[in-house]
């Protein structure tokens, strides 16, 4: 199966990269912006700021009062949101195609003219919202601090991935309007962004509209280098451990490995390894730990594909109330190390599922646009969308076996164990 989605690349005079991917089959269009800034750009004492700033981007701009962005998009029958991650921040609107100009105008207004709308009141309001987001998603959740703990095990103190995207309450409290202004001027510039439009539009009209709305935004200086020490040993050099006794319902063992950066040639090998472990119910972890040995209630594997120094491959197994964490750890390790004996049949199954998932991801224009923005921003090559599957298909069993031998040993592991606090310990 080979699918090719159309891709056109442009660059405005101010440096804004533009990717267009027309598809007239349904009257829906996605407008998607990736800014080259994330939590890795945060200076010490400013953790969580990239995300707090993302919230401020929804507080209005020179020609758009507070709440109006939401009101206009919702009234148009559209959806919108944004997310902040280690290496980037993305903003996305999906609207009926006759409202494409509205979405472009709104995104341009905040890229160009956000600061006049900022106020202390808005900052204080969104600071409270973000603190409640932190409580809801992390602090008040069983296992909610796992990412914070794991990142500390995996990345050294002075590395930009040592701290979480949500940041610390203290740093969120300390954020000022001046920080907002500085951050905006430094990172929210057209030459640090990619704009993708995917879906139902005419390319010529869309490009004209993009130029009309974004063209006069001034470009900025090259963005400053990422703070901290960026280079990492390819391997952790040990098994780093954290054992937590807390109010969790079931024991859980999280095991993670340093893997090559997203941009490395062998990142695709890592992706296939992850699929062999956790993609589908015939995959190793589910088959062995959940179905056959019944030592885990559930298993998960996924990647943090990251640019700076090293990515992270994660697995976790959630036990039953009486599961012994040490037994869970050796069971998990055994299956992961077992990839040194990976077989062609399981690789074939993983590729077959990846093909289905690939087409599924293309089904909606929002996810199509998001991938195009990502590949343009990170690799200057949105066409990677069309070669993604080929890169996975090219991975051989020998490569997988060698990769497993190299990366999944005890000299490259972070192990985070959650043990339920004893009954009555509350």
């Amino acid at each position: 199966m080979s699918l090719r989605i159309p891709i056109e690349r442009h660059r405005l005079d101010n440096g804004l990269k533009v990717v267009l991917s027309p598809d007239r089959t349904v009257p829906v269009v996605a407008v998607n912006l990736w800014y080259g800034v994330g939590s890795r750009n945060e200076a010490p004492g400013k953790t969580g700021f990239a995300h707090l700033f993302e919230h401020m981007m929804f507080q209005g701009s020179a020609h758009v009062p507070k709440n109006r962005h939401f009101e206009l998009i919702e009234k148009a029958g559209g959806t919108l949101n944004a997310t902040t991650w280690f290496d980037r921040t993305n903003y996305f609107d999906t609207v009926p195609s006759h409202e494409l100009d509205l979405a472009l105008w709104l995104e341009a207004d905040r890229m160009g003219w956000m600061l006049p709308a900022m106020s202390q009141e808005k900052l204080d309001n969104q600071r409270d919202v973000v603190k409640n987001e932190k409580r809801q998603r992390y602090d008040n959740q069983p296992y909610g601090d796992w990412a914070e703990r794991l990142q500390k095990l995996m990345y050294p103190q002075d590395h930009p991935y040592h701290h979480t995207v949500i940041g610390s309450m203290e740093d969120i409290d300390a954020a000022t309007l001046e920080d907002v202004e500085q951050f905006f001027k430094t990172y929210y510039i057209p030459n640090n962004a990619v704009l993708t439009v995917a879906g139902d539009f005419d390319s010529k009209d869309a490009l004209e509209a993009v130029d009309r709305y974004f063209g006069e935004i001034a470009s900025g200086a090259p963005i400053p280098s990422i703070p901290g020490r960026l280079d990492l040993e390819p391997k952790l050099g040990k098994t780093a451990r954290d054992h937590v006794i807390s109010e969790v319902p079931l024991p859980r063992l999280i095991m993670a490995f340093r893997t090559p950066p997203f941009s490395a040639d062998d990142f695709s090998v890592s992706e296939v390894c992850q699929a062999l472990l956790g993609m589908g119910r015939a995959a190793r972890l589910h088959r062995r730990l959940v179905r056959e040995r019944r030592i885990a209630k559930g298993v998960v594997s996924f990647q943090f594909p990251l640019l700076t120094g090293a990515s992270m491959l994660l697995t976790w197994a959630t036990g039953y109330p009486d599961t012994d964490l040490e037994a869970l750890e050796s069971a998990l390790a055994e299956e992961i190390e077992g990839l040194r004996g990976a077989e062609q049949a399981e690789v074939d199954r993983a590729i077959a599922l990846a093909e289905t998932d690939f087409v599924h991801a293309l089904e909606n224009v929002a996810s199509r646009a998001d991938q195009l923005s990502m590949f343009e921003l990170f690799f200057d090559d949105p066409g990677r969308v069309n070669t993604m599957l080929d890169r996975l298909r090219a991975v051989t069993v020998d490569q997988i076996r060698a990769f497993a031998g190299e990366h999944f040993g005890p000299d490259n592991r972070a192990v985070l164990a959650y043990e339920p606090a004893a009954e009555g310990d509350q």
Partner: protein, 460 residues
């Protein structure tokens, strides 16, 4: 470049309308209602097999059996083990799943269209010839019980489950979570699952929905082959009237020591999916808490910063499900947030939404409807709703027109009749020592604290 005025939003372009795809409907020889729509954007297909045998039809001793049985379908068939079933599906890149719920059981499949001829027989085999081997059933049961334990300690799930028993009278299925209880699940064996599937996984009164790059006649022929010999109707039939637990406002705090936030639910018995007020009430609910720019979200989040977000919704089921406002708020602002929620429900119930709010909400609903028909899975989900609730074949063709016809008066009238702040049950899962006293001081109604024993039953 032509001059333009950046200070105003640009005008809309010409609308390109589009319709729900045409559905080919036919009945298989065993009575199964087959609905196929050709959507050929991409070479994929989404399948749903709905069987009307749901948690609503189970008494409390057997609660969770429908959900557990569906979960255990991945344990294999009479012809192949669980692992063999998974391998057979995944070898051809097919994603398979099965879920039980209030209305019934739904098995689903997603694969490349040219794999359907191999994948559909596997779905049929999983559902009509389940094996339920002892060890797989034991595994599904352990997983289910562990899941119940997780629900108890997850503040959002705990709040949801506690709230249901405050909205619905004892003994009404909706008063419990559809996951069952430790007692009911604990007593189940492979025989129970076999018995349940045998009696209830039946074609009559259900439906098979196939949406994607397929030909209706070919699908019909394939389905006829896959499901031949499978006959009958489900034995378990829901038979109950919904009764509210209380007609007065009451407050329950479920103690969760050390919580840094309160999970708040405010609600009562709502209405059913076939209510003639569906469109008007949906619009009223969007204004209250069904979109980002709803009254609740603009108040609690964007004005007061009490929360990351707040939503209200009607659980439209074949019988009246819950109407509920749900949010998570900081400890110190918990009483203020509860007060604001009740004020907003009171405001919309007594004075209705404004003309402008109604216009925004119905434009949102009508517009978003199109956005939600992009994927074959989304279309299949919509088509399933037609089967589950017996909606007319042209229902989705009329959907946007009917949504756009809702008037301010219609929405106000629906809000007045279906949102009743004075009967609302307030449930808070949080640190009762911190948020309990100030909540009690609000004097909203009878006040109760439940001090839960972790992993066990609540003691009140």
């Amino acid at each position: 470049m032509s001059a333009f005025d950046r200070t105003f939003p640009p005008p809309s372009g010409p609308i390109r309308d589009f319709d729900f795809p045409e559905v080919d409907r036919r009945r298989l020889s065993n009575g199964l209602d087959l609905r196929v729509a050709r959507v050929a954007r991409l070479p994929v297909v989404s399948v749903r097999l709905f069987m009307r045998s749901g948690e609503s039809a189970l008494d409390v001793d057997r609660s969770g059996l429908c959900v557990l049985t569906a979960n255990a379908l991945d344990g294999g068939t009479r012809k192949r083990s669980g692992t063999e079933l998974a391998e057979s599906l995944e070898r051809i890149g097919a994603r398979f799943g099965a879920n039980g719920g209030w209305e019934g059981t739904s098995a689903s499949l997603y694969c490349l269209a040219d794999r359907l001829a191999e994948a559909l027989p596997l779905l049929a085999e999983a559902v009509t010839e389940p094996g339920f081997p002892e060890e797989e059933v034991a595994r599904a049961k352990e997983q289910h019980l562990a899941g119940l334990r997780q629900r108890k300690m997850d503040p959002g799930s705990a709040a949801h489950d506690a709230a249901l028993s405050r909205y619905f009278a004892d003994g009404i299925p909706y008063a419990r979570s559809d996951h069952g209880t430790e007692q009911s699940i604990g007593g189940m064996t492979a025989d129970h699952l076999h018995g349940y599937a045998d009696a209830n996984y039946r074609p009559e009164d259900g439906g098979l929905i196939v949406i994607g790059d397929v030909d209706a006649a070919e699908v019909a022929e394939l389905a006829e082959r896959c499901f031949s010999g499978w006959t009958g109707s489900p034995a378990s039939v829901a038979d109950f009237e919904v009764v509210p637990a209380a007609r007065e406002r009451r407050v329950l705090v479920v103690h969760r020591p050390g919580s840094v936030q309160s999970e708040v639910r405010v609600g009562h018995v709502g209405t059913d999916r076939l209510t003639p007020d569906y469109f008007a009430l949906s619009v009223a609910n969007m204004v209250l808490g069904g979109m980002f720019t709803s009254r609740l979200n603009l108040n609690l989040r964007e004005r007061n910063g009490f929360t990351y977000g707040v939503r209200s919704r009607f659980g439209f089921r074949s019988r009246p499900g819950p109407f509920e406002v749900a949010t998570a708020v900081g400890n110190e602002v918990t009483p203020a947030a509860v007060r604001e929620i009740l004020n907003e429900v009171e405001g919309i119930a007594s004075r209705g939404p404004t003309e402008e709010e109604v216009a925004s909400a119905r434009d949102f609903a009508a517009g978003i409807f199109g956005l939600q028909l992009e994927t074959v899975g989304q279309i299949a989900s919509r088509a399933s709703q037609l089967v589950i609730f017996g909606l007319a074949d042209d229902y989705y063709h009329e959907y946007r027109r009917r949504m756009r016809e809702v008037t301010t008066e219609d929405a106000a009238d629906a809000a007045r009749r279906h949102m009743r702040p004075h009967e609302a049950q307030v449930v808070v899962v949080g640190d009762a020592d911190v948020v309990g006293p100030p909540l009690e001081e609000l004097g909203l109604g009878p006040f109760e604290v439940s001090r839960e024993v972790r992993g066990g039953q609540p003691e009140t």
